[in-house]
């Protein structure tokens, strides 16, 4: 496949690995913030190509993983309502809530539909005017603009039966909190898709405030190895800064139009992250102007305080403090077909990535 194969070129990857080996003298831990990076790193077996002193740890950038059980529990309550159709991206459907999961509800008869785009959800709302169609909006700055666009379109088309249940989050507060909490990180492999929307500006504080470098990376093996090399070079030269490796996609200023849409529909609010707790201004809440499409406002539901599963280290793993293999449940009780924590379910979850590719 042109435009992808070039970034999976063995000679280039091995050449980069060789250079990393040659110049890196310090023992360092680099965090890949984004779950997509974790999956790619494990899928291509990149840790086997790195010298022992360069360690990669996974971060909190897996949308499904950081989403609260309360969100899942509420979505399940919605799915049990007679006149509701739940629309969602695929990886949310198997995430365990406190008492069930969406795919179990689906098996019992709930109308839960997997969509690949919010536009599909709008179409479902259009075809089912007597039903309430709720789209489960999770994800970071990457997917949030699509949800914003969906809400704007629904409003324009007068689709009064379309709602978004938003657990959208923004990345920078989480990246700051990790360092504030003392997690040992020597540099960030910055999220490529988030930065496509936001641009590089959101990371500028990190080198200044914390003396850590951020390299915004693409998702192919060549991208990732090159980003690691760039961070190693920064560290060896004691010169932390924000750099873009993923230049073919990410512009320094980001996607202005998407940013405007985000700003039009959403406002910042405090939000709960698995592993990190409540972070100020880290969540995207639907503005009052668009509250007619806000599921939380229009169809309020209450659930009992959710319980995190006993023994599950998902939170610690999302912080980069523990690795999946440190968890007693990992690959024994907790597997992708019987996930205990969200990190084992999602396509971007570090437990799923380690289970699939690096046990």
């Amino acid at each position: 496949m042109k435009y992808i194969d070039e970034y999976r070129n063995k000679e280039i990857v091995l050449g980069l690995a060789e250079e990393i080996k040659k110049i890196s003298t310090k023992k360092i831990r680099l965090m890949e913030v984004c779950g997509g990076h974790t999956m790619s790193i494990q899928k291509f077996g990149l840790p086997y190509l790195l010298p022992e002193n360069v360690e990669l740890i996974s971060g909190p950038g897996c949308p499904v993983c950081v989403t609260s059980r309360e969100f899942i529990d509420k979505a399940i309550v919605y799915s049990r309502m007679e006149d509701v159709i739940i629309t969602t991206y695929g990886d949310l459907i198997r995430v365990p809530g406190s008492f069930s999961s969406l795919d179990q509800e689906k098996a019992k008869g709930a109308d839960v539909r997997i969509v690949y785009s919010i536009l599909d959800a709008l179409m479902i709302a259009k075809k089912n005017r007597t039903k309430k169609v709720i789209f489960l909006g999770i994800g970071f700055e990457t997917t949030a603009p699509a949800s914003a666009a969906g809400i704007l379109k629904a409003r324009m088309a007068g689709l009064s039966n379309f709602y978004v249940y938003s657990a959208h989050k923004v990345m920078p507060p989480a990246m700051d909190t990790l360092i504030d909490e003392g997690v040992q990180i020597d540099g960030y492999i910055g999220p490529g898709h988030v930065s496509t929307i936001t641009g590089e500006g959101i990371y500028m504080d990190i080198p200044k405030k914390y003396g850590l470098g951020v390299v915004i990376s693409g998702f192919e093996p060549v991208d990732l190895m090159q980003s690691i090399l760039m961070l190693v070079k920064q560290l060896e030269a004691n010169d932390p800064k924000v750099e873009i490796q993923y230049k073919r996609v990410v512009k320094p200023e980001g996607n202005i139009k998407a940013q405007q849409m985000l700003d039009e529909v959403f406002t910042y609010g405090d939000d709960w992250w698995r592993g990190l707790g409540v972070l100020a201004n880290s969540g995207l809440k639907i503005r009052d102007t668009y509250s007619m499409h806000d599921a939380e406002v229009q169809i309020p539901v209450k659930v009992a305080p959710p319980k995190e599963p006993k023994g599950c280290l998902c939170g610690e793993i999302l912080k980069g403090v523990k690795k999946p293999k440190d968890c007693k449940l990992f690959a024994k009780v907790c597997t992708p077909s019987n996930p205990i924590g969200a990190c084992m379910v999602s396509n971007e979850g570090s437990c799923a990535a380690y289970y699939l590719y690096n046990r």
Binding site: I4, V13, L49, R94, D103, Q104, S337
Partner: protein
């Protein structure tokens, strides 16, 4: 939350959940020495003659897709299950469950295809059954086929993989993931137009040619639901052997690669309906590849890996960029109603 107390779509995926279901319900109650083998076909000893016996049901959606239809699948699936056991497929039965309202023309098209494929494969459809259910109680048409094949004594060990040795080569007869992605692309709700055709085909002639060319065929399995990943992982696990596959030897067609990238599927776990994993004695590997390449369904055959010295019980992939990762059984559901 504990394991599900209801049947989930993932239970039909051919991966881990299917295996668990088979073990915890079917084998638990039906338990006998034939079933315990968990082979593609049961090998039965009837008055000195060995026969292979298998059954398979087909629920693919849509029933017509590029490269075939549900009828072609129903013949090829059962013929291939017999053939990979080392048997010569002979007789097939077919059961139809049809939804009220199915256009007769569509049924006729399916049946015509079945007759054509059966003739080509040298098997005879000797008995059948038809049921019609209310509209909405099944989706257009479901087909079950069962098959009987004759098995020579010397091939009895193939289906149980009892003679695998370190250094044996692993061979596949072409590209992977075509069937799954062809069906996926044919589904209307996805709005994908791609130039992909299912690899669905009866492979018994090709397999016969291979068995004639080499006495070193140690194992064969058609890599259907769950893809080659599930076959390889299962093979390593049940025989406590290590397997090492080289990703750059695997062929994935451009269209398949594209849809996999787009939808986040791993071609290793996407269904095939015309691909067989062969494990072959090292000294015969080249000969087997050459034999396969002469057949229309094996033109792109190649050695993709081997039974390795280490990693007992697990299957590994040397990735296209030189890294390494494990190949596990498909977990959960990749695609429902693919065959």
């Amino acid at each position: 939350m504990s394991k599900s107390d209801t049947i989930l779509l993932g239970h039909g995926s051919g991966g881990k959940l299917s295996h668990d279901l088979i073990d915890s319900i079917f084998v638990k109650y039906f338990d006998n020495k034939y079933l315990q083998q968990q082979t593609d076909s049961a090998i039965l000893n009837t008055e000195g003659k060995k026969i292979a016996f298998t059954t398979d049901s087909f629920v693919v959606d849509p029933i017509f897709f590029p490269g075939g239809n549900i009828g072609k699948l129903a013949i090829a699936g059962t013929v291939n299950d017999l053939a990979v056991s080392g048997a010569v497929p002979k007789y097939l039965s077919c059961g139809f469950i049809i939804e009220e309202g199915l256009p007769l023309k569509e049924l006729e098209e399916v049946v015509k295809t079945m007759a054509y494929e059966a003739k080509k494969a040298g098997v005879v459809l000797v008995t059948g059954d038809t049921k019609v259910v209310d509209r909405g109680k099944c989706d257009k048409i479901y087909i079950n086929t069962s098959g009987i094949g004759l098995l020579e004594d010397k091939y009895e060990g193939i289906s149980t993989a009892s003679q695998l040795k370190k250094g044996d080569k692993i061979i596949i007869n072409g590209s992977i993931g075509d069937h799954g992605m062809a069906v996926m692309a044919a589904r209307n709700d996805l709005n994908i137009s791609a130039d992909i055709s299912s690899d669905c085909a009866c492979l018994n002639t090709m397999i016969k040619e291979v068995l004639e060319a080499s006495d070193g065929i140690r194992f064969m399995r058609d890599a259907t639901r769950g893809g080659i990943g599930t076959v390889l992982s299962e093979l390593a696990k049940t025989n406590n052997l290590g397997i090492l596959i080289k990703e750059d030897k695997l062929i994935v067609n451009e269209g398949v690669k594209g849809i996999c990238e787009l939808l986040g599927f791993d071609p290793l776990y996407v269904a095939n309906e015309g691909k067989v994993i062969f494990v072959v004695a090292s000294e015969d590997a080249v000969k087997v590849v050459e034999t396969l390449r002469k057949n229309e369904y094996g033109k792109e055959a190649s050695i993709i890996g081997e039974i390795s010295e280490d990693h007992n019980g697990t299957s590994w992939l040397e990735t296209s960029v030189g890294g390494k990762r494990i190949i596990d059984m498909l977990s959960g559901q990749q695609l429902p109603r693919i065959c």
